[in-house]
Amino acid sequence: MTALLDVQDLVKDYRDAAGAPLRAVDGVSFTLAPGEVLGIVGESGCGKSTLGRMLMRLVEPTSGRILVDGSDLTKLGGRALKRERRQLQMVFQDPYGSLNPRHKVGTIIGEPLVIHGIPNRRERVAELLDLVGLPREAVDRYPHEFSGGQRQRIAIARALALEPKVIIADEPVSALDVSIQSQIINLITDLRARLGLSMIFISHDLSVIRHVSDRIGVMYLGRMVEIAPTAALFAAPRHPYTGALLSAIPRPPSRDGTPQRTRRIFLKGELPDPTNPPPGCVFHTRCPVAVERCREIVPRLDPIGADGQRAACLRADEMPGILDAPTRPETAVAT
């Protein structure tokens, strides 16, 4: 199947407050198939939100290509950009900050329809409200009259208004309580099944990402360090950073009440200064299994094993076995 979205070698350079150059996203490439959900996971400062915003060209890429159905979004301007950008829509983390408090819900959801000159706005807005499980009376109400979960439904309805091919959701459930979070995750699952939506789902929460994604890409300091089908990533992470992330998820006890305690891989030190990234593999300063050559060689995101799993690690073929080695001094056993 041809890719719906083909992202090639995307780079974003910024300058920090002192004017030092900073590469927020460094050569990220991936594809998204029709109907697929790709999760992007990583911690603060890894570049996942910048990546999401670049796909919409809310942030201008420094270099690289974003092919949507074969046409390069980075080369377009004016009307052509407006036309193609319809294919991509975004849902943000903060349902309070992303809806205009002075506009009624009907205006908010209908705005993309007005911009793109689409007729029968009232009917379409009513359909969208049905789709996301809000009452039709919501059109005449203001965002402050709704709870956080309902506001996120409004934001999703707005994103769906133009029938985009791809939804880019940046931490869409992170600001919500667990009981509301599950309602929004279910809505996303339903919409996927009903509309065949493709999605880039950006989150720091691995258990949420695992639940909704077909494949997962893991980012660290601007780079994609591993990408794999969800089951393969959880069964056998091939990058030590992925291994550390997975081991850090606090696990609820199993159904019979026995606690599931796992060997935890503690990372040493802090995230390196992004204006002065380490040479070689960017993760080597914190890696529990780094060896001498990791300081010099920049590992490529190469295929490893079956299923299209790729990892940017010189020791990927020894993973995840080496992470369990009991002699390693940098790890501690969680008790």
Binding site: Q181, Q183, I185, G257, T258, R261, F266, L267, E270
Partner: protein
């Protein structure tokens, strides 16, 4: 240090009111020395205000303590004078908050902020207090404590700031640490480090800890017991493994069921319809009745009494078996 049998902190029928409405309704729980108790629940259920009221730093007015006792080490904190209460805060009981940036003073060095409690409660000189601050900074896992004391909060990362908050809280070796969502704003690998640190401190120093969180995974990892709060009431209390593994209250069970990690990937998650009723619109009976999947006729009119089975207490007319 082993957990002893007598309670270090005993909150007894604590009721807090705002504009005549009950924010918390006869909340009771105990923490023993060396024990870590989780207070669990959704936003708006009263967890944070309960924690603030233990130190009497809740916004008063509008929130007033209208009933109950807070017995700490044999003294009722609710009956102390303002001066007596000041002597307790930061000394015997310390607190850390969710947002380490807004909880630190941006114009003071972190060393001075840690030293403040030592100067106030221990009568140390500034010089001695700063030296101790450096040691505390190393204790919480930041290297080169002596150099770190001269830094300002904006020069630190989120994880580093939270460690500074913990160093401040630990300065006077408190008997009780109250931690309100201490890792919610942090990345998961940093969260793992901070929780391991709190766990080590309580094991080594016998410090008790009241951990307020909405993350049941965190509860399962580090706590001994948990109390589940809903709409101002404690609805279930028990050892963590029993409470999360075999919850009896319908709300606890629904909360556990709704976690993605408890469900097969890709499938619909069980969810809890509706939202927590705000103070002032809570029914006389069980506050969960409108969202419950197994309500009985009694539930709407009468709050069920606590029922105990070997340390597992539940308030439900129709508990899960």
């Amino acid at each position: 240090m082993p957990v002893t049998n007598s309670a270090l902190l005993s909150v007894e029928a604590l009721t807090l009111e705002v504009n005549g409405h009950r924010l918390t309704d006869e909340v009771s729980f105990e923490i023993r020395a060396g024990e870590m108790l989780a207070l669990v629940g959704e936003s708006g259920c009263g967890k944070s205000v309960t924690a603030l009221s233990i130190l009497r730093i809740h916004p008063d007015p509008p929130i007033s303590l209208s009933g109950g006792r807070i017995v700490f080490d044999g003294r009722d904190l609710a009956a102390l004078s303002a001066d007596e209460m000041r002597a307790v805060r930061g000394d015997d009981i310390a607190m850390i908050f969710q947002e380490p940036m807004t909880s630190l003073n941006p114009v003071l060095t972190v060393g001075d902020q840690i030293a403040e409690a030592l100067i106030l409660h221990r009568g140390m000189s500034r010089r001695a207090a700063l030296a101790r601050a450096g040691e505390l900074i190393e204790l919480v896992g930041l290297p080169n404590g002596r150099r770190q004391v001269d830094r300002y909060p904006h020069q630190l990362s989120g994880g580093q700031r939270q460690r500074i908050m913990i160093a401040m809280a630990l300065a006077c070796e408190p008997k009780l640490l109250i931690a309100d969502e201490p890792t919610t704003a942090l990345d998961v690998t940093v969260q793992a480090q901070i929780l391991a640190l709190i766990d080590t401190l309580r094991r080594d120093a016998g410090m008790a800890c009241l951990l307020i969180t909405h993350d049941l995974g965190v509860v399962a990892e580090v706590c001994d017991r948990a109390a589940v709060m809903y709409a101002g009431k404690i609805v279930e209390t028990g050892p963590v493994d029993v409470l999360l593994g075999a919850p009896r209250h319908r709300y606890t069970r629904a909360l556990v069921d709704t976690i993605p990690a408890m469900n097969p990937p890709g499938q619909r998650l069980p969810s809890i319809a509706g939202t927590v009723p705000p103070p002032g619109s809570r029914a006389p009976g069980c506050p969960f009745v409108d969202r419950c999947d197994a309500p009985t006729s009694q539930c709407r009119t009468l709050m069920p009494p606590p029922e105990e089975q070997s340390g597992h207490i539940v308030r439900c007319w129709n508990p899960a078996q």
